[in-house]
């Protein structure tokens, strides 16, 4: 496999995963604001902080309201991480190598791209926001389904897996980092309806609300949310789940090497999580832990690129 192909697959996967996270974040926050009167003056602010795009947003928009934020996150062509931009980039990466992916996968991604380039420039023209995001969610699920059902379990699949899981791990840790602090309850609100709704929204942003109920019942507590989203290896969007999958994929890629595959230290990411717990991390400092986790994700990504992708 050409190094440039590995690069294309990895980044196509990352961009698609990023687009999905953006879509979930906007969708959930939008619904949350419909239900709950905003506590803070800038209810959309946490979203901008989660994605690290507050500055970029501020350069083009003076007011963070539903319209401007949906525009920025979903439609804005100048925002390289908007859903539309991510879809475009994913498609460009796949197009460069579409002869090496299943036709169905190319057609599905291209179909989404052809729709996305036709999305209007303004959120107001999107029609029903909930309906828009529901339809988008289905498209992402379809693409994921096509990947899992048509791709042979070879290096192409594994590079897609690494890209997807790295992006997911990064996003779930950022989500927790910001939301946790935003949700840091005032004593008087603990256990209150608003508090519960906020935690539920956070979990829903990670498609993990019902899984939470299965594990803990409908009893929200900060520590439990941290456990589900960081440490529970059975939850598909948890950091642990992602770290396990990243390690597995990298091991398989290295095992296919005719000689000795490079040692990329992917176990470190797993060990960070396996060797800790929600209770421990909240005692010593969740924010610091999440920062360290994100740093290790980034460092691992760099080592992967150096080992398998084109050096510019």
């Amino acid at each position: 496999m050409l190094r440039s192909i590995a690069d294309h697959l990895f980044w196509a996967a990352r961009y698609l995963e990023r687009a999905q996270w953006r879509a979930r974040l906007v969708d959930v926050n939008y619904n949350l604001l419909l239900e709950v009167p905003p506590r803070a003056a800038d209810p959309w602010d946490p979203l901008l902080k989660i994605t690290g795009e507050a500055e970029s947003f501020g350069a083009h928009h003076s007011v963070a309201d539903e319209r401007s934020v949906v525009n920025f996150f979903t439609l804005d062509r100048d925002n390289t991480s908007s859903i539309r931009s991510c879809i475009e980039r994913a498609r460009t990466n796949l197009r460069a190598m579409r002869h090496q992916i299943p036709t169905e996968l190319w057609l599905e991604v291209n179909r989404l791209y052809l729709d996305a380039i036709d999305w209007p420039a303004d959120a107001l023209a999107l029609g029903s926001i909930p309906a828009f995001f529901a339809a988008l969610r289905e498209r992402f699920y379809t693409i994921s389904g096509v990947v899992h059902n048509t791709m042979a379990r070879n290096n192409a699949y594994d590079f897609v897996r690494v890209g997807t899981m790295l992006e997911c791990a990064d996003n779930v840790s950022r989500l927790l980092d910001v939301k946790y602090h935003y949700l840091l309850p005032r004593i008087e609100d603990v256990g209150g309806a608003a508090d519960i709704r906020q935690w539920a929204a956070l979990l829903r942003s990670a498609s993990s609300l019902e899984v939470f109920w299965q594990i803990y019942g409908n009893a929200m507590r900060a520590e439990r949310v941290v456990d589900v989203l960081l440490f529970n290896g059975e939850v598909p969007r948890s950091a642990r789940f992602c770290a396990d999958r990243i390690a597995g994929a990298l091991e398989r890629i290295a095992a296919r090497h005719p000689a000795d595959g490079p040692a990329l230290g992917q176990e470190k990411l797993v060990e960070m999580l396996a060797g800790s717990s929600a209770e421990s991390v909240m005692r010593t400092g969740l924010h610091e832990f999440l920062l360290a986790f994100q740093d290790e994700c980034a460092a691992l990504a760099t080592r992967i690129a150096r080992a398998y992708m084109p050096v510019d």
Partner: protein
């Protein structure tokens, strides 16, 4: 539905005397009857329900879209993909005519290869004054950096696309040679796939010569060029990338041949050997089917700003460690001015009379030719010698006085940069055209040409048929895909199938 629907040409020819200026209709004779080899196909379309006829275009378009057979037009700011327009009415060539064409085409490419070996070697044809030295040495396509490099078996040209046109009397003429990076064969192959889905019964009944072995044949020819004596030479296709207008073809051919598709950044030259950068390390390449022009192929030898090629490739070729197809420097053989000397080349190198005539070509650097042409500029097609793809071509009879004045001035300023050819009334073929004013689509005559593909390997082969390009605008003679032309499938009938 009757013969009226096949186009006004039919009615004209029925009513009037046959004028030599009228183009030949490849499906109908001057009396309006289907030609024998076309009778089954003609009847098929003439008796088709108009609704089905109308839908054919859409069905084909949808199939192409789903297959992703697209084409980027240069000059489109967004680089948007378009489906290469396709006409579902096939063009028929009887086997006897094809056999003659085949022989003429192989003869031509053999002579061009001999010419290239000569001018990058001894230069005998220049010594003997058959071809002016300055025309060759001074041509921007003459690659001094390639002088002395001899491809295996002197096969400079492995893939050639020879453009043929058919005159009013039905004879085929060579309009132009393409021996650098000729494209279009993927459309030939994809068109056949579509036609098999649209008209399976027709194809079956007519016993049309198959085209699907082309990728296997191409791969065999490429492997034949390998300098290393190994059982399985490594072949790769070099593409400029996804924004190139022929990217689909690069993808398609690499896929069909089962070889890697690479861009410049995937390659590296080390110790005068060419390698692909794989995830597990470097892999040596023996033969590169390069769809990148010479200018961009090697920043060391050619344009230093090129990112499309790989540094040191020329040196690696010279060291005998890798071969490229087509070889560096073939562009001088499809130069429009050199074209005028091709019949002389055939006589000089092969000692044979040319089997295929060329369209008369006047070199405007020659004062007599220039005078003749300038006296009646409106009757000629003026072509700049440095360009390709139809740009810069001025068709005299269609040009305004102002345009003709501009061309005249340009010729006077730099006569060596232009050639002139008489206008050939390209043959026409019934083509599905949009209806007028809300009417359903109907068949109308449109000008066509033919680009057969010649493979030079151990055994020269010509792809049966080739790309029939059709000028979709009424009266237009420009068939180039980059300027809005389309294509038809070309059906060469098996022996003994001339009358159906």
């Amino acid at each position: 539905m009757d013969a009226h629907d096949t186009g006004s040409t039919v009615l004209d020819l029925k009513a009037a005397r046959v004028s030599p200026e009228l183009p030949m209709n490849e499906m109908f004779d001057p009396a309006g009857r289907p030609r024998p080899e076309c009778s089954r196909v003609a009847n098929y379309f003439l008796t088709m329900e108009s609704e089905r006829l109308a839908q054919l275009g859409d069905r084909a378009h949808l199939m192409f879209q789903q297959m992703g057979v697209t084409f980027n037009y240069y000059g489109d700011a967004e680089g948007a993909e378009r489906i290469f327009p396709f006409d579902p009415v096939p063009r028929i060539i009887p086997s006897a005519i094809w056999e003659a064409l085949e022989a003429g085409l192989i003869q031509r490419v053999r002579a061009l290869n001999a010419f290239l070996a000569d001018i990058y070697g001894e230069g005998a044809i220049l010594h003997d004054g058959i071809v002016p030295r300055d025309l060759i040495i001074g041509s921007p396509q003459f690659r001094h950096g390639a002088a002395g490099i001899r491809p295996r078996n002197d096969l400079f040209v492995t893939v050639a696309g020879i453009d043929l046109v058919r005159g009013a009397d039905g004879r085929f003429f060579v309009l132009e040679d393409n021996v650098r990076t000729p494209s279009g064969v993927s459309y030939v192959l994809q068109n056949r796939v579509i036609m098999r889905r649209l008209f399976p019964e027709l194809l079956h009944a007519l016993r049309v010569r198959s085209v699907e072995q082309y990728p296997a044949d191409l791969l065999a020819c490429l492997k034949d060029l390998a300098p290393r004596d190994i059982a399985e030479p490594v072949v790769a296709v070099l593409t400029p990338g996804q924004y190139n207008s022929a990217f689909f073809e690069h993808v398609f051919l690499s896929q069909q041949m089962g070889v890697e598709l690479v861009e410049g950044r995937d390659l590296v030259c080390i110790d005068h050997k060419l390698f692909m950068r794989n995830v597990y390390g470097l892999k040596q390449v023996d033969v590169l089917y390069r769809r990148v022009d010479d200018d961009y192929l090697d920043p060391v030898t050619f344009r230093p700003d090129s990112l499309l090629g790989v540094a040191g490739l020329t040196a690696a070729i010279r060291a005998g460690n890798v071969a490229v197809a087509n070889a560096i420097g073939t562009g001088v053989a499809d130069d429009k001015a050199v074209f005028a000397y091709t019949p002389a080349m055939i006589r000089y190198y092969l000692g044979e009379a040319p089997l295929l005539p060329i369209v008369e070509t006047y070199l405007l650097r020659d004062p007599d030719a220039r005078e003749t042409v300038l006296r009646d500029l409106g009757r000629y097609v003026i072509k700049p010698t440095g360009a390709s793809g139809g740009y810069g071509v001025v068709i005299g009879p269609k040009a305004s006085d102002a345009e003709l004045g501009q061309v005249r001035a340009r010729i006077m300023r730099d006569p060596g940069a232009y050639i002139a050819q008489p206008v050939v009334q390209l043959s026409v073929h019934p083509t599905l055209c949009p209806g007028v004013e809300g009417e359903p689509p109907w068949l109308q005559p449109r000008h066509v040409d033919l680009r057969p593909f010649v493979l030079m390997g151990a055994r020269p082969r010509v792809l049966a048929g080739g790309l029939t390009r059709v000028a979709l605008r009424e009266g237009s003679l420009i068939v180039n895909s980059s300027q809005g032309g389309g294509s038809k499938d070309t059906w060469v009938l098996e022996d003994g199938c001339s009358e159906v």
